[in-house]
């Protein structure tokens, strides 16, 4: 089965599910008697209440409060499993980042080699996971099965989603079985980009390049405001208290396709276009993109322009056909 065109990917998400290889995610094992302690001091989420069978998506921030990693963390017996999305190609691997903060603690983080991760997104994602990998459909539920597949129930924006990570041959076999199922479509890079932009989901290397605050990128669901100290907390808490966030990630509709990276406005608080959907979304008419704009321009209906004069309208995401 060939990958579906982008518009078919979005249509199928509402009716059934799409699946895609997530080669941008890196799987790790974090081991050691101090793993929970160290991860807890660095993580934006409270890890202490987690038990085997549950997961959480957390952020690891710089001391200045900027997103460096967005990571699904799973306690699995004596180890922690991590599915990590670095904030861009210039960000150090999670294992190196953790090593920088490791002093005398008993903690080792190692990437899992020859692993692959599959994402299943859509209204039928969790039912599929329940059938194929015996995963409970409670958000955050986790299953590590006998084949070494780590299955995590979560969300992709507002859409139900499941991640399956494990040895590449095993995950490949699952992808093969999904290709044989009628009603499902496989998303290639263009289809995944279409879905991601219409859903308003930020990605490492595009919306996250190592310098964004969680509030700017719409990632405050990955932050606990009731746990103790973590690296970067002062900045996040201050932004939350005073509402002083200079930029926000929004959906933008242009008359003509903009170039990724195009500056929106000028000056030190200028925004930029981050991702452009391959196809128009149908409704609203025009070419859809994600981008950062000044907070005062972030309300739906606001008009913004690139420095080249291309104008756009801010819209609420997800797009109507994904709601």
């Amino acid at each position: 089965m060939a990958a579906a065109v982008p518009s078919a990917v979005v249509a199928t998400v509402r009716q059934a599910a799409v699946f895609a290889e997530r080669s941008d995610l890196v799987a790790y094992e974090v081991r050691g008697s101090d793993a929970l302690d160290l991860l807890g001091r660095l993580s934006t989420q409270d890890l202490a209440p987690l038990r085997d069978g549950a997961s959480v998506t957390t952020l690891f921030l710089s001391p200045e409060g900027r997103v460096r990693h967005r990571t699904a963390l799973v306690p699995a017996g004596e180890v922690w499993r991590a599915l990590d999305e670095p904030a861009g190609p210039d960000v150090e691997p999670l294992s190196e980042w953790l090593e920088h903060y490791t002093f005398a603690e008993d903690v080792v983080a190692e990437p899992l080699t020859d692993h692959a991760t599959l994402a299943i997104v859509g209204s039928e994602a969790r039912a599929l996971a329940r059938e194929l990998v015996t995963l409970d459909d409670t958000p955050g539920a986790v299953r590590l099965d006998a084949e070494g597949r780590l299955c995590v129930a979560g969300s992709f924006g507002a859409l139900p989603a499941v991640l399956v990570s494990g040895p590449a041959p095993v995950v490949g076999a699952l992808a093969g079985s999904l290709r044989d199922r009628p009603g499902l479509v496989e998303a290639d890079a263009a289809g995944w980009l279409q879905l991601r932009v219409e859903a308003g989901v930020p990605a490492g290397g595009a919306e996250l390049v190592g310098g964004e605050f969680p509030a700017e990128a719409g990632l405050l669901d990955d932050v606990s405001f009731t746990k103790g100290c973590y690296t970067g907390q002062e900045v996040v808490a201050r932004q939350d208290t005073y509402g002083k966030v200079a930029r926000r990630l929004v959906g933008l509709v242009f008359g003509d396709p903009p170039a990724p990276g195009a500056a929106l406005g000028d000056g030190p608080r200028a925004g930029r276009v981050t991702s452009v959907a391959p196809e128009p979304p149908g409704e609203p008419a025009g070419h859809l993109a994600l981008g950062y704009v000044r907070t005062k321009e972030a309300e739906p209906g606001s008009r913004v322009s690139t420095v080249d004069g291309a104008s756009a309208t801010v819209i609420a995401l997800p797009t109507p056909r994904l709601r």
């Binding site: 160290l38 002093f103 100290c229 690296t231 970067g232 002062e234």
Partner: protein, 123 residues
């Protein structure tokens, strides 16, 4: 005051020492007596995490590690692991009590920034 020294530098070089004030030593001894930890040593360490990226940690342990720096003064033994010592060189540890006291405080010339509560810093 009591100091820990890097044997490769001049013992009185402030930049190569970790200094505990008399008040800090006195408070440590007081805690040891109260909690019957007279035979334990005080470990001062830097750990990752905390709002500015690195944090100070203090606790009593039974024995020093093989590569620890050791201070011994007035019956109090303080140990610091090698990696932490790199971040703590030149630090003065004090103790401030009273109504507005902060407890143990760290004045660290290596800290680029310090959080509001003083327990976390960036190196």
């Amino acid at each position: 005051m009591s100091t820990a020294t890097d044997p490769t530098t001049t013992p009185l070089d402030p930049a190569a020492t970790v200094t505990l004030t008399d008040q800090a030593i006195e408070q440590v001894r007081s805690i040891q007596e109260r909690e019957s930890l007279g035979e334990h040593v005080l470990r001062i360490s830097v750990v990752g995490g905390g709002c500015s990226g690195l944090s100070y940690r203090m606790g009593f342990v039974e024995t020093p590690g093989a590569a620890d720096r050791i201070i011994e003064k007035d019956g109090v033994r303080v140990v610091i692991d090698a990696k932490s010592f790199l971040y703590l060189k030149g630090t003065t540890v004090d103790f401030q009590d009273g109504l507005n006291g902060k407890g143990f405080t760290f004045s660290n010339p290596n800290a680029k920034r310090t959080c509001g509560c003083g327990s976390s810093f960036s190196g």
